[in-house]
Subunit: 334 residues, 2 copies
């Protein structure tokens, strides 16, 4: 199987690639386990060459390509090397798409559509896992978001992700791809540096204090968050790929609200204190930022993700477990 990941330089893309290299098996459209022979990593930022275990001879060949979604589309439709599966993670993030309207539409809408068009040109419709977001929700919402709650996005990013889901559905209905869209909760803890995502603080207030650095929290302590760890996101992407299309359709559709945990910023501060001591918790400075708050306020906090649970997607055990996994996987890797 030849698998392509867009957004492979991002932290989820890197973790997903590493996971697929460690365990290079995915299910094809008939539900048969297939070995991943080739992994094609595409990102506008240079993707670090992933570590490949020595000797085994069973690890996939890895091709690293620095380029945008147009390049990714070209790679998908290479006649000598057709792709069997795509993990489409590349996106201009929430705050970035809100600042640069044209860039957001070019990447998040046109880029996604171009990738689907490239898949459509293949003889065998590839599996297509699309990283959507709970940012499709916004505005007046019920207290608890259900699978049948209408998405009324209040940001350009949320609009573009919802349009991406609709395209994935329509291209799938026509048999051009075998798509599935995952609405990701806020991913916590993101390693590395803060980015332009409005949610970046959710990771900063754990990551920086545990590294002995100050962190800024732009939202009040009672702000709620719907979160999922990078480990669980990677597991969800792999699970979404493996699920048979008819199981998804029987469960209500190709778009899935993932299973997360509801936590408050105050919960996070407390958990940081438990993991790193009172001095760590004391490194979090609350500096209100109305622009960030205006975006974060539109995101839902409570879900009843029955479809995802029925399909076998799993949440993290606890906020403490999320932080422990971060310490194990990423704290010393920085």
């Amino acid at each position: 199987m030849r698998i392509l990941i867009t957004g492979s330089a991002g932290f989820i893309g890197r973790k997903l690639a590493a996971d697929l290299i460690r365990n290079p098996v995915l299910k094809d459209g008939e539900g048969r386990q297939q070995r991943i022979t080739d992994l094609i990593l595409v990102d506008v930022m240079p993707t670090p060459q992933p570590a490949v275990p020595r000797g085994g001879g069973e690890a996939p060949r890895v091709a690293v390509v620095t380029g945008g979604l147009a390049e990714a589309a070209d790679l998908v439709r290479r006649p000598d090397a057709p792709v069997h599966g795509v993990f489409h993670l590349a996106a201009v993030v929430s705050s970035g798409a809100e600042e640069d309207f044209d860039l957001g539409y070019r990447v998040n809408l046109d880029g996604t559509r171009g990738l689907l068009e490239a898949c459509r040109g293949l003889d065998d419709p590839p599996k297509f896992v699309f990283a959507s977001s709970v940012a499709v929700f916004g505005g007046a919402m019920p207290d608890v978001i259900r699978d049948e709650t209408v998405a009324t996005p209040q940001t350009s990013y949320g609009t573009q992700k919802l349009i991406g889901e609709l395209l994935v559905n329509d291209f799938s209905r026509k048999g051009m791809v075998d798509g599935r869209s995952l609405r990701l909760p806020t991913v916590m803890v993101r390693p590395g540096k803060p980015n332009k995502a409005a949610s970046t603080f959710a990771s900063s207030i754990i990551r920086e204090p545990l590294q002995g650095q100050r962190a800024v929290c732009p939202v009040p302590e009672d702000t709620g968050l719907w979160v999922l760890s990078p480990r669980r996101v990677v597991a969800a992407m792999r699970h979404a790929f493996d699920l048979p299309a008819d199981r998804l359709l029987a469960a209500g559709g190709r778009t899935v609200n993932l299973v997360g945990l509801t936590v408050s910023v105050a919960d996070v501060v407390e958990a940081v204190g438990k993991a790193g001591g009172a001095e760590a918790a004391g490194l979090i400075d609350f500096v209100p930022d109305e622009r960030i708050q205006a975006i974060v306020r539109t995101w839902p906090v409570r879900f009843a993700p029955d479809r995802a649970l029925a399909l076998g997607f799993a949440p993290d055990e606890s906020l403490e477990a999320i932080i422990a996994a971060f310490i194990e996987d990423d704290l010393n890797a920085e």
Copy 2:
């Protein structure tokens, strides 16, 4: 005010243009009545020159342009003659978009987006009335569609209309246009010849028998339909234009499920018999067409359109009134 109508050669476009010529007043963004000085009619098909009342001096200047949505976009952004309002009716219809995937996306998605982009270039954001459709609904649905029922389109046409709504919302949120999207029921009775819309039979089985011609009904007698007359559609478009944006937002958003009537094909046959006699009803031949049925079956039949009612949109009085209006407006005009 300079008003542009796309799809002006279509029957709703022609009726809307005639109505705006008869009564050339619309409300601007501040709720003030403004005279329509110019009416620009654009369609890929030649638009018949509308009749303009003589003498008055108050009728709008009418410009008829034969061209696609790219031409319409060029007309919107003419620096010497900026447009103040757009009624965007042009579309590749349901069955057409299902047959020609590329054409549907090019017109219904790219065309709509291009028009919004053109509006965005204007100094004053124009009002933008988008003709969407209840075809955005489909698949597993509740018995009664409410304003907060999620739209899960099962056709490319429905997908493209829903994406159009999302774009209208996002461009409006950014202050680039002042948009409103109307989800039109099946419009009945459509004058003229059958077209590629899967719903075309709903008009044929009234129009043809009342003209003494045979009509083919491709769906069974118990097929339900959610219908609205051309008169009410035109009234709804005008009302949607006039409504202040803040009233729409307070009522829940810029997208409105219009108020229609639920009728069955059997009801229609009976009403045709009342209007045209038993011989008229006898001219309807039931010839099942699985392709048409597969599309029509995905459309919802029962709505609770509370938002539209609160905003002052009105349904037809009865099926009999719909047929009487057709006889008065269109039967002898053919």
